[in-house]
Amino acid sequence: MAVVALKPGYADAVEIRDRRENFHGNQVVYLHWEEHLSFCAATAFPLPPDMPFGALTEQLIPQYYGMHPDFASLDWNQVEWKINGKPATPDMSKSLAENGVDHKTLIAFRTPGLNGYKGSCS
């Protein structure tokens, strides 16, 4: 669709603010624990692309999601992953990039049997 603008060449002068180059070597990654909406939205992190995927389950997720009462019963072997909406089986020892995680990727995880405070998806 043609851009509606007063200034000729407007579209060519557009500066996209959130290009990967602007994040000092990191890329933005979003995490979301499905059926746990007491975390109001997916969370955002600037992460190095060569960080192992396993660092999410070992460090990041426990640090930021560990206070939820369901967290103590979480079994990582049961977790179902989705990367950008597609079911995925990430290799924990490989990097985010090798697991198909690029800039502004959404990683969602579901924990069957654990669906929020008293099953309320909260």
Partner: protein, 507 residues
């Protein structure tokens, strides 16, 4: 013999003489060069003289009316200050709604002043140009009276003092700011459609009626006073909004699809922004007037329904996704309050969990959703608070590229799933909270790919630092004073001390 009476002009004639024929067709310069803004959007105007002024108000009458209103307003404000009116409010928690209003809305009044001044120069037709000039003055007056009113609260409560600075920086204030920046960076006809029609005509009652009745119910006479003082202006602004729409649609059939697209866009943007008002009505007023859902039914479903039925003769239909917005009226206030509760450490006002009594009210007002989806959330947080483990979200939220609100809204029809939408543009991925916000982006990706998203800006190192403390400093928020829960805040301590002093005097 009686002397012949001096002929007096009738109102219409007098009005015409004072507002028409004041300009001329330029000859040394092309009209298109003198008025470069009013054609590029594709709106075709064949006859500017067909413009009907909604209010036949001349500048001299305008000064007189506004001067009278101003005198009354400041008399009431003086008496409010002299009588320590701040002690008469229902509870100090109420003041947090005013903090949100001053930091979120008042700077928009000023932006509106600036942009209507721009339109008052750049519209080719003299009728709308005069209307825009008057509205520009109204908006400046609104900004001033709000600041004067609220400056009184600033003497007694935290969170007010840095409002212009905060408006340009704080994560949730980027929602109203970017809304208005979007309108001001559009052409004049889109601005009229966005602000005069979608906001001031279709949605205004959802902002002003609850806000002013809420103020009255909660003993805030200062706010009620500026509300009343603004009301007669608002009536004029609404009429301008409807006149612009009718004018565009009557001038040329090619205008309809353009106007429809704008109506769809600005209805959706307005609906998302008013979610802040929804939260204020359902959670922040110690004495409640009506639920957001009830307000939506009266002011949008019924009143808006009648309006769009009337406009259907021009071929205009109800805004796209109006049904989804109506469905969201069951959820939006709860979801928004949950966002602020868990990010209270970065909010410029105080938060709290609803009491048993308040939750009973919410159950009654939201029988389809509150007990099933939202009560458990608040009960879980209450249990955690009782154990000394108050729930804070210590990670930053994913934001919608269009509305800039944390992506906390659920799928239409399934409140247990967050709605995720995304698209690609120029090799980059973009995320949205809803189909409405995604459509807006896809219609103008060049514009919205430039969005200044507060979370990403923090990651890029543009907001004072990486720690919460650094960012709060950059926001000019006093950690432990302006933010966090109401319980334990300096506002609460002060209020409790005043109340016990009054009891001692009375007893």
């Amino acid at each position: 013999m009686t002397p012949p009476r001096k002929k007096k002009l009738n109102l219409k004639k007098r009005y015409e003489l004072m507002t028409r024929g004041l300009d001329w067709e330029t000859s040394y310069q092309k009209m298109d060069d003198v008025f470069p803004y009013d054609t590029f959007e594709g709106i075709k105007i064949t006859d500017w003289s067909k413009w009907e002024d909604p209010f036949r108000l001349t500048m001299d009458a305008y000064w007189k009316y506004q001067g009278e209103k101003e005198r009354k307003l400041y008399a009431v404000l003086d008496s409010f200050a002299q009588n320590n009116g701040q002690l008469g409010i229902s509870d100090a928690r109420y003041v947090n709604a005013i903090k949100l209003f001053l930091t979120g809305v008042t700077p928009l009044e000023y932006q509106a002043h600036r942009h209507f001044a721009h339109l008052g120069r750049h519209i080719r037709g003299v009728g709308p140009r005069v209307a825009a000039q008057m509205q520009s003055l109204d908006e400046l007056r609104h900004a001033q009276t709000q600041i004067h009113t609220i400056s009184h609260y600033n003497k007694y409560f935290d969170g007010f003092s840095e409002f212009p600075h905060m408006h340009d920086r704080v994560w949730y204030l980027s929602v109203p700011k970017s809304f208005f920046d979007d309108a001001c960076s559009a052409g004049p006809f889109e601005f009229f459609t966005a602000i005069s029609f979608a906001f001031e005509y279709v949605l205004t009652n959802l902002l002003f009626v609850p806000f002013m009745s809420g103020a009255a119910y909660n003993g805030d006479l200062a706010t009620v006073t500026f509300g009343f003082s603004a009301q007669s202006d608002e009536a004029r602004h609404m009429t301008l909004g409807i006149e612009v729409i009718k004018f565009m649609l009557e001038q040329h059939p090619d205008n309809l699809p353009i106007v429809q697209k704008w109506v769809d866009k600005w209805f959706w943007r307005g609906h998302k922004m008013l979610g802040l008002v929804a939260m204020m009505m359902d959670y922040m007023l110690p004495k409640r007037i009506m639920s957001w859902k009830e307000a939506w039914e009266i002011y949008f479903t019924e009143a808006g329904g009648a309006l769009f039925e009337d406009l259907s003769r021009y071929g205009l239909r109800v805004p796209k996704y109006a049904d989804i917005a109506t469905d969201e009226a069951e959820h939006i206030s709860h979801q928004n309050w949950a966002i602020f509760y868990q990010y209270t450490q970065a909010a410029g006002f105080h938060t709290w969990l609803p009491s048993d009594e308040e939750m009973a009210w919410l159950s009654e007002k939201y029988p389809n959703t509150f007990d099933k989806y939202y009560r458990p959330r608040f009960e879980m947080w209450r249990e955690m608070e009782a154990k000394g483990e108050r729930f804070y979200n210590n990670a930053l939220p994913q934001l919608c590229q269009t509305c800039q609100i944390p992506m906390g809204y659920t799928e239409p029809g399934d409140p247990t799933k967050i709605g995720f939408r995304s698209t690609e543009y120029a090799g980059e991925r973009y995320h949205f909270c809803s189909d409405g916000c995604k459509d807006i982006f896809e219609n103008e990706p060049e514009k919205f790919s430039q969005a200044w998203l507060p979370v990403h800006q923090i990651f890029q190192g543009n907001c004072g630092g990486a720690d919460l403390g650094d960012v709060l400093k950059w926001y000019h928020m006093d950690n432990g004073i302006d933010n966090m829960d109401y319980t334990g805040s300096p506002d609460q301590k002060q209020w409790d001390a005043w109340q016990s002093a009054r009891k001692r005097v009375a007893g």
